[in-house]
Amino acid sequence: MTQPSVWFGIGAAIFAIGVVAFLGFALTRGDIRSPYYFLPPATAAIACVSYVVMTLVEVGIAPAALTVETVRYVDWALSTPFITYYLAMLAGTKLSTRAGAVGLNVAMIAFGYGATVAGGLLQWGLFAVSAVCFVGLLYLFLSTFTRAIRDAPQTSRNLFVSLRDLTALIWSVYPVAYLLGPGGFGAMGTADYSFVVVTLDVTAKVGFIGLMLARQYQLDTFVGAGARATPE
């Protein structure tokens, strides 16, 4: 049976490829100083580093205090707010909305981590709170953000909707995987759960980057609009 370390290593490699590919695009065709261009590779870079650390943890050459769960949740706590912020930025929402969304995102991860380390009723209570945070985040994605971008050009709206759908759909699988995994009902073993989570992470972050690379012509419309909206 394949060890989780293999999945983590493959995940780290895919993230590294994603970072390099997007940086190459941003440097040659875009503007790396714009958050539209540096946020996606930053997110993937965080994931890449965390997967390298997870691989080290699995093969046993990391400090004993680090567990895969801890590294994973630290990764999520750092990288997913970037994704949320990026979507909020694409939608052109107010700063307060962006801050609220990022706060909700961090809270969701924090309560989720709490659920993994707690036991019994507390675990399910924290999971429920995390799930509520996720529902709130979904509401922001699907309603508030979408309303904010309503008047944008169709091509901009297009890219936002695709990225929004990708994030909302893939993120919805995480709690399901958690419930089916060893921390939940135990239908999946740790190795399979690790495999599923790697798949989810790669799809959510490298898929995000890949989508943007495929739609680079649409990203330009955001950068143009952003440059007009915020003169230097």
Binding site: M1, P153, Q154, T155, R157, N158, V161, S162, L163, D165, L166, L169, I170, V173, V176, A177, L180, G186, A187, M188, G189, A191, D192, Y193, F195, V196, T199, L200, T203, G207, G210, L211, A214, R215, Q216, Y217
Partner: protein, 402 residues
């Protein structure tokens, strides 16, 4: 937009139903594998099998969701964007953004739309430009036709119009105006000729009257001087009478001819009046049509241009008709000139004949008087009763004087 969101919703629904059916099939396959193998396996291996099947299913779901987010909506939204742009173009926004960086079939479709839009825009701009040109030309033509209608026959339309139909119209109109102007000039010249001929006629008539008076005096003198030789007098009287009668009869015939010729002239003049009136009507009508053409041109879109062509064609026909009327005028004017020449010639001939006849008579009378004197002196005849010598003075056109 509701239609677009309707299309999108139905697409999402179909996609969702398809994915759901596949997911059910995958779950069924997994359940089939698990229930077949589970009885033969130890609990540990059984749970590993379940774990593996669940993870495979989850990975399958993740893949499908990614495709749904990335490809399904993308392809569809590109189409909805294109539909939206096509609607914008339909509403007249020819600057709708059709740029795309895609290199696939959809990118090709965008570029085809953009090319079509560009061609359309070019055509529309060209048509608009031509319409403005048409309007400007029509209004210029209208001004010229107004001036011509007001009597300024020297004005001409600009034949350099960019639109062929207008240039044709201008050429036809100008040709018509050239002929009209020439004809009117000829009518004026002819009127002068008639005036001159009338002068000549009245001068000649005066002269012939004076000649008649001379004849009468001569006759009276003869009658007064010679109171004798009744036979001779009677003979003289007869000669004079006969001569006068012949002369008067001839003269009456010639005068009748002249009067006929002049009557004919006046009739033709009436005809010229009618024709002139017709030309004036035509000019007005041409004017109206040109104005209509201008109005048509102002609202030209594709079909309207055709409508204008028809109007322009009509104006052209009218101009041709007018031209043929002008030809007719020319013919009539020629006739009139010939008629006048005939009339004047006939009058002059008549006058000349009359005068020469008068001269002859006077010469004859002088001869006769001389003969008479000689006879009287030779015969030495005594007094003879006074004889009434009568000459038909009235027939000679001289007022009776006593």
């Amino acid at each position: 937009m509701s239609q677009l969101s309707g299309i999108r919703n139905s697409y999402v629904l179909k996609f969702g139903v398809g994915v759901g059916l596949v997911a059910v099939a995958v779950v069924a396959a997994g359940v089939n594998v698990y229930t077949n193998l589970a009885p033969q396996l130890s609990p540990d291996v059984r749970s590993q099998l379940l774990s593996g099947l669940v993870s495979v299913f989850l990975v399958f779901v993740v893949g499908v969701l990614f495709l749904a987010a990335a490809l399904g909506r993308e392809a569809l939204s590109s189409l909805t964007v294109l539909t939206d742009r096509a609607r914008q173009i339909e509403r007249g926004n020819l600057d709708a953004n059709l740029e795309t960086g895609r290199n696939d079939e959809l990118g090709e479709l965008y570029r085809s739309f953009a090319a079509m839009r560009d061609v359309l825009r070019g055509r529309i701009r060209e048509t608009e430009r031509r319409n403005r040109q048409l309007q400007r030309t029509a209004s210029e033509y209208s001004d010229v036709m107004d001036a011509v209608g007001d009597g300024d026959l020297s004005r001409r339309l600009d034949e350099d119009a960019e639109i062929d139909a207008m240039a044709d119209l201008a050429r036809e109109f100008n040709e018509m105006m050239d002929q009209l102007e020439r004809t009117v000039g000829e009518v004026y010249a002819f009127t002068d000729e008639v005036a001159r001929a009338t002068d000549t006629l009245s001068r000649q008539t005066e002269e012939s009257m004076r000649a008649s008076v001379r004849v009468h005096r001569a006759a009276s003198d003869i009658a007064g001087d010679t109171g004798r030789s009744p036979e001779q007098f009677a003979a003289v009287e007869d000669r004079i009478d006969t001569a006068s009668e012949i002369e008067v009869a001839d003269s009456a015939v010639e005068v009748d001819d002249t009067l006929d010729a002049i009557d004919g002239l006046s009739e033709r003049m009436d005809r010229i009046d009618e024709i002139s009136e017709f030309i004036s009507d035509v000019a007005n009508e041409t004017n109206m049509l040109a104005l209509n053409a201008g109005i048509e041109a102002s609202k030209v879109d594709g079909d309207g241009a055709e409508g204008f062509q028809i109007v322009a064609e009509e104006v052209k026909n009218l101009a041709e008709e007018t031209k043929s009327s002008t030809d007719e005028i020319e013919t009539i004017t020629d006739d009139i000139r010939d008629g006048t020449n005939d009339a004047v010639e006939s009058i002059l001939t008549q006058q000349a004949a009359l005068l020469s006849m008068m001269d002859e008579r006077v010469a004859d009378l002088a001869d006769t008087s001389e003969d008479l004197r000689l006879s009287i002196s030779q015969l030495d005849v005594s007094e003879v009763p006074d004889t009434d010598v009568s000459v038909d003075r009235r027939a000679l056109g001289e007022p009776t004087q006593d």
